[in-house]
Symmetry: C2
Subunit: 503 residues, 2 copies
């Protein structure tokens, strides 16, 4: 999708800003592309510069880099976008930033931002990670390269550009905005509950029709998976040590002692082996699956449709996979992906880890795991069951070190924020599929769960790549008319706001 695409609407139309202003009262969603094409073209360079300036100031939570500067910049971006009330919300970690833009509209929309980015190493990049240089990417178009271009400054800048364009046109926003930004998304949002617990934040978000996360959702062919929910996750490490166990050595010792000294690494292996069944994946912890809500017929239908319209071969080859679990067919693999909780082993580290071997009996062994949760499982419930299990089988000494996680999230496909999204995509002729549940995780439960209980989903045209990797990019001008560039993504947000305002 770009300016030449009929899906985006006529470019080069001649009505000026003043004419558009005249139609404020009656502007409906179908008129948006006609009304804003020229405005966005005129504002293009400024919008790109806004993104580049933001990328130039990276906040990295892991390294506590640019903490106050990043929060101040976030607050300023909101002020410059017309937010009347902007507030930095302190937490035990990096602060949140909260702002409201009250346009006197009837409804409120919640928006979630993150102002932190992943760490980066410039030596691995083809252009400087903080420059936001625009380069030609063959068969893709002009792309802006920089840390945060996709995740998440790019789509967020496009959203701010949408708000600014509406106001620059002389119109009032069709819906009021309550925006909450956090600075610790990349480390698992450990303090985001504190931000949401701020009475002013809570009461503003409770008024909203839902909370939307701006995103670059398009794949290379322009299609979009519209996610109606996501699994929850818990990340934790299991650590066996001679110190805590009271058996085995408290330092690494010569392996000949194995005949008379217990080995914490074997202790961990025996504990791990009890967590999943012989198949190597089915959870083997008592009561683990008792709160699983089965997929509905509608959810199964949606999955069947995804199986029909997407390529199993691509899904396998991009991941180096030759068989699904249980030799399932593609549809069954997609049902598993949506419906099954998992106990995944991410890594192991114990004793000697170099080439070959070394004759030691280690004092410590660590396994890195993550759980994926489906409704109605909860993080607290599963961690309690894990603890009981370890106790019952004689592994109560093994430390369970939880480093992050949250419950699953679900949003109704008939909620206003999803209906508006579908309307915009249909009108823009963007192919989309409804996906009942993202097998990855995002902390939507902050919004869909207690105490807010509002719908939450992501939305956004446009495309990026190399998330969390060197040469992260966002497409600014796409060569493929089915894929939106920066300005088309901005138009998408404008349309979405008008659609929601009308709903």
């Amino acid at each position: 999708m770009n300016g030449n695409s009929s899906a985006v609407g006529p470019s080069g139309q001649t009505r000026g800003d003043s004419e558009v202003v005249a139609s404020v009262a009656t502007l409906g969603p179908t008129d948006v592309r006609a009304a804003f094409g020229k405005i966005l073209a005129a504002r293009h360079d400024a919008s790109v510069k806004m993104l580049q300036d933001w990328i130039a100031l990276p906040t990295v939570a892991q390294q506590r880099l640019n903490v106050q500067e990043g929060a101040d910049h976030m607050a300023n971006l909101l002020r410059e976008t017309g937010f009347q009330r902007v507030k930095i919300v302190p937490t035990n970690g990096l602060p949140g930033v909260f702002g409201t833009l009250d346009a006197g509209a009837f409804k409120w929309l919640g928006i979630y931002f993150m102002y932190d980015v992943m760490p980066f190493d410039g030596s691995e990049w083809s252009s400087p990670p903080l420059e936001g240089r625009i380069v030609d990417k063959p068969n893709v178009g002009k792309v802006l390269i920089g840390r945060g271009a996709q995740n998440q400054k790019g789509p967020q800048a496009a959203f701010l550009a949408a708000l600014r364009a509406i106001q620059a046109s002389g119109r009032k926003l069709p819906i009021n905005i309550a925006l909450i930004a956090e600075g610790e998304e990349e480390i698992g949002s450990p303090n985001f509950r504190q931000v949401l617990g701020e009475p002013e934040v809570l009461s503003a978000l409770q008024k909203c029709v839902g909370v939307v996360v701006p995103d670059l959702s398009q794949t290379s062919n322009g299609s979009i998976s519209l996610l109606l929910g996501a699994k929850g996750t818990v990340e934790f490490q299991l650590i066996a040590s001679g110190e805590r166990w009271g058996r085995g050595p408290t330092i690494d010792i010569h392996s000949m002692e194995a005949a008379r000294v217990d080995n914490p690494a074997w202790h961990l292996i025996k504990a791990l082996a009890t967590l999943v069944q012989a198949d190597g994946y089915t959870p083997a912890i008592d009561g683990w699956c008792e709160n699983i809500k089965p997929l509905t017929d509608r959810q199964r239908d949606l999955i069947a449709k995804t199986a029909r319209i997407t390529s199993e071969k691509d899904a396998m080859s991009s991941r180096g996979i030759r068989r699904w679990i249980n030799d399932d067919d593609y549809r069954a693999s997609l049902e598993r992906l949506a419906s099954q909780p998992t106990i995944n082993l991410q890594g192991l580290v114990a004793g000697y880890t170099g080439p070959g071997g070394m004759s030691i009996l280690p004092t410590r062994a660590e396994a890195k795991l993550d759980l994926r949760l489906v409704p109605d499982q909860t993080k607290d419930e599963l961690l309690l069951k894990l603890d009981s299990h370890l106790q019952r089988y004689g592994f109560g000494d093994i430390e369970v070190r939880v480093t992050g996680g949250y419950d699953p999230t679900e949003t109704d496909e008939d909620s206003a924020i999803v209906r508006a999204e579908r309307a915009v995509l249909t009108r823009a002729r963007v192919e989309y599929s409804l996906v009942p549940r993202d097998p990855g995780s995002w902390p939507g439960v902050f919004f869909t769960g207690q105490p807010l209980n509002v719908p939450a989903c992501s939305f956004g045209l446009g495309r990026g790549g190399n998330l969390h990797a060197p040469d992260e990019f966002m497409i600014i001008e796409s060569v493929d008319p089915r894929v939106a560039g920066y300005d088309e993504a901005t138009i998408g947000f404008i349309e979405y706001l008008y659609q929601l305002g009308q709903e």
Copy 2:
């Protein structure tokens, strides 16, 4: 033990070399100290320099450092010690060096040397690792610091000094010497069988009363554990991978896929868990223990004696241990150490191994293990049983990568080389205990096994430290009269040769 100790014999005796020469024909073991004290004192500086020059030329098998130079130096040391026939024996790896010193004596003694040393990093040393500097070590004495000082150039140099001193005295050696040196001891002697298979080497060693490894055997109080055998060992890694398995990913993928993609790390955990019983140490592989020869009453008596004369508290505290396996008492722990085969887990490495966690499903997982074998288990037998076990339980795809190992070794306490050792130690009033089986391992089976079938043990007074570590040292002059310095260790070897010649 040093020159001032009555155990070592009178120092400052006045007989000159010529007088000593006169008594060649009748010199018995009891006269050795008197005969050689002065000769060694006169030769002391030259002997130390021989060791220093050797240390200055490190052969490191891991790094293929000074391969030919090290072998040539070894050969020259033998020639300069009067070996009439010296030969470099090529192998697929570093060459062996073989030499014979035929003194026209009635018997032959085999000697095992290694000319390679462990790698070293000079930045971690208090004096240069290749200098062989002599420094004062508080409460210990003058020590020579250098890579190989203890392991094994120090005691080997003392042995060569013994041969040279006897010849310098005008005497003929009381026993002929067949010496075999290898350059790959520190990487597990992968090609030593090739050296021993050389017909000239084989026929020379077959004539020997046994093979002795020069060593610094004394502990800090001067006592010696006389090892009558050692466990065998096999070092290997178990590696699970998506590639070999045909399941799971062939690259690390996002952990959300765990719902439908098999995890090679879980596959490895499940395989490992089948190797030992629930107690975390007893081998659980069919037939693993069927060839174990139980300890004899004599062996159990020797262990009971060790339990009486050594400190359980020291044994525990030096290793950070609070309980033995099964809450055994000390004697039972020592019996386990001598009698039980082990399957030890040295290390684990899979997927993400940094701090915290990372959402991946790894394509590869590796466990590092070692086995300890007791008579009559063999390496080939146990590896075959391990393979069958993995096949039978559905883990036949897991790679078993063997990186070293050999069978157990046993030497009769009534063999000539052990009898001579006990006689020398008794006469020198060195406390010693007979240890039925070293729970560590040494490849004595090269000599005690097929096709040689000769006794093999280590021998040597003196003491060193920091084996395989920075500041490796050998005591040159000991402040503790119970502990031998360099010259006393040399006298020990001279006495041993005379004792053996008489046996």
